[in-house]
Amino acid sequence: MEYPRVTPTNAAYAIGGAYPKMSQAEPDEPLPVGEDEFRMIADSAPVVVWVTRLDRTRSFVNRAYVEFLGVPYDEALTFDWRRIIHPDDAPDILAKSIAGEASMATFDLEGRYRNFQGQWRWLHSTSSPRRDAQGRHIGFIGVAHDVTEAKTAELALRDSEAQLSAFIAQSTAGFAQVDLEGRFTLVNDRFCQIAGWSHDELMGMRMLDITHPDDRTRNRPLFDRAVAEGTPYTHEKRYIRKDGSVVWVNNSVSVIRRPDGEPFGVLSVTLDVTRRREAEAQMRKSEESLRLATESAGMASWEFDLETMEGEWSPNRFDLLGMPRRPDSRGSFDDWIDRVHPEDREMVRAAAQRCFATGESYTIEYRVCRADNREERWLQSHGSRIDYADNRPNRFVGVSFDITTRKRGEDELRESEARFRTIFEQANDFLITTTLDQIVTSVNPAVLTALGYAEEEILGAKIGAFMDPDQLALSMHAFDKKMREGGTTRLTVTVRARDGRPLIWEINSRLTTDAEGTPTGLHAIGRDMTEAKRAEAHLRLLVDELNHRVKNTLAIVQGIAQQSFKDATDPAIARSAFEGRLAALSEAHNLLTRQHWGSVSMAQIIGDAIAPHGDAGRFELDGPDLSILPKTAISLALAIHELATNAVKHGALSQPEGGVVIRWAQIDRDGRARLSLVWEERDGPEVVTPTRRGFGTRMIERGLAAEFGGTVKIDFRPRGLTCTVDAPLPEGAA
């Protein structure tokens, strides 16, 4: 390549800002070396070189200069460098260039220039003043290095440093570096902030100086081991700040080594965990409160790891199972299952394992046998599986509490219910409940039996369906009274059985109320008084009847007395007669009483009446077993007594060989049944018709006739007395 001679054509800014003016400087501006030699050196240099004159025109540029611009040599001499300066760098370069030239001293410039290929290149130029032999300033000589690579690297480094320092400065983490003796050698702002000491203060201190005294013992061996063995560690400890406050930090500590592996310091990345610790303490406190609360509520909690099947139990869980508390508070699934009552064990195990497998929570009630005293207790337990979103193993948590009291209460309630149910079912009394609208809600079987209805016919019906309107009115009156005054009412009402039979029920009833005392319904206990009322009426009748009979009997006694004594000449005989008659009356009464005042046997009446008057062998009784009414029986007995008394005194029985035949028969006359009765005395003394008819005769002929409603005739035949009764067969006789 042939270089044109340097000819100043125009002034141009060049690197260094000098104007090459070589041609004009030639005679009086000798080059350091010969010109050719200089050109050769300059052209072979890998740097851009140029020479300017005082007037700033370039007198020389080297090959690198030409190549950078990519123009011919002459053009390069006059090229205006300002055109290719990067706009960002131009103001700075131009200003420094002018100032540098004015200073007449060496000056440096640095900036980006565009080469002929259009690439921006960082050039660093140094312009040095040129002087002639006399020391006069004659221009500048400039050299420019392409520093693009270095510049790029530097910029990259500066970026990275800036990022790092920004990161460190802005980091929530503090960074502290200490030497092997623990003296601070480097701390970032955040560390100062956390530790509560200034950078300068820290630089004169050791790590342990600001560590809480209680944490030093724990801290020192960790640090020593890290230094000695290179073992990194993470721990939490407290720093005492300058103001005396305490800060909890989490330090991740590692050893820093030189390239040869020799440790020269220890770096700690420090996080302020005070708030987390406080939160944890708070949580522990909450947990403690919760635990206290659950424990005081009798609830025991436990949890375990589903991989190891063991975990932490609350202290009272041990108590609940009668097990001694363990220092580590840990227990296993099997510890629990072992305590479960054998009969419940399978159920419990199945529920728990289903929970473990499927995550289905359970609530179960089961028995345990306490470990200490074998006492059986009822527990209720609730268990849930806790699944974590990450890969932590699932856990199981449960709470248990003792429900023995409730359970026993339930048992008692159940028994009591069963008892009441039995009473309800089996009571002879009627048990009925109704709504406040008188709709029957329940009845016991006794009601169904008594009324003859099926249960479904009664339930849902109104009580008015089972009683007449007047009786319902009585019930409603009682109901209104209860609504007004509360309490129990006792009421006797007549209800109607399904077949219309009236039943007299005595009903006690009261209102049922809710917890607030508001009436909710009515329950009633009734008793069938029908029979009792009937018996009562019967009894009243009996008493009346008895009174009547007593009065009647007294009247009869009075009559007998009057008749016995009215004509008596011999009081002793009269009294004897009276007593005999009373005895006969009494005997008749005895018989009637034995027969409950029902019909009595004629043979019996006659037999009893004659018994006091001689051996049975002297009487011959012959007749069917007719029965007669009580009243007739008394008259008959008295009549037989009179006849027998007369026979003993005056008739057949007054002689040893004498006897009496008593015959009676039921005969038909004109299609009607009649009684024929004959008293016939035999083998007695000759009978004399009495001059005067006494009580006996009168009693027999008139009284008995009237009693039988027929005729009674006494014949005083000489061979023996006969008495003939002819009467309709008395009613009630059979």
Binding site: D544, K551, A555, Q558, K566, M699, R702, G703, A706, E707
Partner: protein
């Protein structure tokens, strides 16, 4: 007081008591009609006999003597009831009731009351 010739119907189903009543009435000078121990018998006498007064047992072997009382009232025959218990039958409350057992004086008082 003398009730000579007064015909008094005796209705009494108990023979001994009837005899007793007859004796009392006879003592008082009365002439007795009956005694009737049954309703039908008593009713026949009450309707057919000439009577000055009557003493009726209320209970006659299970029947009540009310029809006899009605017949007597129709005929204007004064009468009194005799009974071991209870009260005069309904409709005859103003009539005397002689309670058994009775004495002669009771019968006399009753006769006086009904005869004025």
């Amino acid at each position: 007081m003398n009730y000579d010739g007064l015909r008094v119907l005796v209705v009494e189903d108990e023979p001994v008591v009837a005899m007793c009543l007859e004796d009392i009435l006879e003592t008082l000078g009365c002439e007795t009609v009956g005694p009737a121990g049954r309703l039908a018998e008593g009713l026949a006498l009450a309707e057919q006999e000439s009577l000055g007064a009557a003493i009726l047992d209320i209970n006659l072997a299970g029947e009540r003597s009310i029809p006899i009382a009605e017949a007597l009232r129709r005929r204007g025959v004064p009468f009194a009831f005799a009974s071991g218990y209870g009260a005069t039958p309904e409709g005859f409350e103003t009539l005397p009731l002689i309670e058994k057992p009775y004495r002669a004086a009771d019968i006399e008082t009753a006769l006086r009351a009904i005869l004025g």
